[in-house]
Symmetry: C2
Amino acid sequence: MSSTATPSELLELSPDAQSLLFREARTANTFTDEPVSDDQIRAIYDLVKWAPSAANTQPLRVVIVRSPEAKERLLPLLSEGNRAKTDAAPVTAILATDVRFFDHWDRLLPYKQGGGASFEGAPEQAEGMARFNGALQAGYFLLGVRAAGLAAGPMAGFDKAAVDAEFLPDTQRSLLVVNIGHPGPEAWFDRLPRLEHDEVVTTV
Amino acid sequence: MSSTATPSELLELSPDAQSLLFREARTANTFTDEPVSDDQIRAIYDLVKWAPSAANTQPLRVVIVRSPEAKERLLPLLSEGNRAKTDAAPVTAILATDVRFFDHWDRLLPYKQGGGASFEGAPEQAEGMARFNGALQAGYFLLGVRAAGLAAGPMAGFDKAAVDAEFLPDTQRSLLVVNIGHPGPEAWFDRLPRLEHDEVVTTV
């Protein structure tokens, strides 16, 4: 390994993949009318499902808002600045987390049979675990959208309680709303700065 | 696009990269003594810093526990089952989130000067935003470790308050502890099942 290797060269991931997922990928704010198929969504899940969650809990749940009727129900629940781009996106994903993730415990963590029962009387602990691992999986999902050659437009600006009531079962909590599609004209804002390595990483 | 395309073929990400990051990558439970360099850690951050966070807040902070002295301070704060593998890992990362992320607001979101001030009187809102976006970035970081050709061993089983007190400034909260290295003998447990597409994704 040469002492003059660039950070990119120190990675095993190919430069093309680095660009597709991280370096060149951007949050899209406009979309063309090119559709996103259910098979593409299926391929994204089939990829990101393999990334890890604590105790294999996998609390992430996804509602794909595709029909015009469903889109009409979603738009008024978003911050005003998020409505036009969501209306233009071929599909919009509501990423949510299931606070009853432990109902699947015995199947997902078979070597700790019955371990999920400890969450029955501890709803705050269950919700904390659901929210942390749901967010972890939301990160994987955003990269999965990019892996499909699509642009993601994640949005935190929406009425969470209203989205939960309108689209989710009682056991789920919305985390993020994500437009998915092919970027349209002037899809990007200027790239925003990132924190320097030494502001984020310390070594002890 | 053929109707017989597999999910993998529907993705733009190369099969090699799919394997490296998702399909073949596994949570490691043993490590060789091959070192992990600071340059590799730097390369990981240089990649994952580009993935998105809400309002570009970037609350993730990372403490790389490398010295034997620091490792000795960490080990007793972990669940007993996590100690031997952490002792064996060449480095262990404490992933944390900064609840004062908004101190960097004007630099990171220059078109909304002063917008961070709204968090001054709303510590619960700030902590919620820090925890969600820190977890999102933790997901990116785990995939970044894999992008470097290294194995990650994320652990949620540790005394969070004790780790915060021992390793972090007052403004940071630990989220996950992650062993990083090259997998050793019998590094993997059997692969655990994943939820089916139709259990996770619904379309409306």
